[in-house]
């Protein structure tokens, strides 16, 4: 069934491409740099979650009534859920890559759908965050005045900037997930033909 001579000639030609030990060491070094930036991103992501929770915690201490306190708790839980959700997606993505192709595509597909859900959850958390923080900011400005100071930077502009960055990131995550879903559908339909 298989023409061995032809394969042997191709195999020989194919394996003629060699990689020197210097190139291999360079690859290891380059991957090391990529690995360090991944670890750094994980630390930054964890740090952002902790800072977000700390800001909500600080706001909770000033909650004016049980409604604001409940809303603050929901926001805090939402921030923690978004972070855990993202960590779980990253973990599953790392695991799935070693699966057989069909299973890999199916898992990637599920992860894309989860990412889209994650984005929706993130947007809900931001909306709740704003619902909780805006009255707190208005109250704070009335009590402390509207002059720009370090406290205002920490309690108003830092959370606003963090939310803007988060929203921009979720838009990217959403468009990537949708593009990958379209690609996976194409790959899956081609796989069934072969």
């Amino acid at each position: 069934m298989i023409n061995t001579n032809e394969w042997s000639a191709w195999e020989e030609s194919w394996r003629a491409a060699r990689t020197s030990s210097e190139e291999i060491e360079e690859l290891i070094a380059r991957t090391g740099r990529a690995r360090r930036s991944i670890v750094l991103m994980r630390v930054v992501s964890g740090g952002l979650a902790v800072v977000s929770l700390a800001i909500v915690g600080a706001a909770l201490r000033h909650a004016g009534n049980p409604f604001e306190a409940s809303l603050g708790l929901i926001v805090g839980l939402g921030v923690a859920a978004v972070w855990l959700f993202d960590a779980r997606i990253q973990l599953r993505a790392a695991e799935s890559v070693a699966a057989p192709q069909e299973e890999y595509f199916a898992t990637r597909r599920r992860l894309c759908i989860r990412r889209l859900r994650f984005v929706r959850l993130g947007w809900i958390v931001v909306a709740l965050d704003l619902a909780f923080l805006i009255p707190w900011w208005i109250g704070g400005l009335r009590v402390h005045g509207s002059a720009f100071n370090a406290g205002q930077l920490l309690t108003i502009w830092t959370p606003v900037a963090a939310m803007a960055v988060f929203l921009a990131w979720t838009v990217t995550v959403r468009s990537r997930a949708r593009a990958e879903l379209a690609r996976l559908d194409g790959l899956a339909s081609r796989a069934t033909q072969h």
Partner: protein
């Protein structure tokens, strides 16, 4: 052995084969380095969860092919065109004609392999790396018969593209 030491050993053991496999999925030579990095990072991330259910070689090549497939589909979607099958080698180093012929043959083979659909391409790349039909079947999670059919069709296509005699 620590995780990093295991990873370094894997790259030293399989790096050369992985680099050849990556060339079968990259759209051109410049794209090869990006894909190689993606594959190695994916191996590093998956390594802590590798429990030895399959051989290390199967584990490593599965990751390479899965990343290769998603990488090439991503490039295709962006509209990057693969390089056409060359009639001559662009970077011809001075040397004997035999060496130039070999370089041209390899360059044409790589370009032809890149035109195959994902699953036959995967089977061909593994065959060229010396995997047996049974090993390819295990890696692709399919029957040996299916692998043989894929390889025969792919061989016909490659012969056609490379101007060989086929059967």
């Amino acid at each position: 052995m620590t995780g990093d030491a295991t990873f370094d050993r894997i790259v030293r053991t399989h790096g050369e084969s992985l680099s050849r496999v990556a060339s079968g999925y990259a759209r051109n030579d410049a794209d090869h380095d990006d894909l190689m990095q993606e594959i190695l990072v994916a191996i590093w991330r998956a390594l802590p969860r590798f429990r030895g259910e399959s051989s290390e070689r199967t584990f490593v090549f599965r990751i390479a092919h899965n990343r290769g497939c998603t990488h090439s589909s991503e490039r295709k979607r962006r509209g990057d065109e693969p390089e056409s099958i060359p009639d001559s080698v662009a970077d011809q180093r001075p040397g004997p004609d035999e060496e130039t012929d070999r370089a041209l043959m390899r360059s044409r083979l790589v370009s032809a392999v890149r035109t195959l659909p994902e699953l036959p391409r995967q089977a061909v790349l593994l065959r060229l790396e010396g995997f047996s039909i049974a090993e390819i079947a295990a890696l692709q999670d399919t029957s040996e018969n299916n692998v043989s059919v894929r390889l025969t069709r792919a061989r016909d296509r490659l012969s056609e593209l490379l101007g060989g005699g086929g059967r």
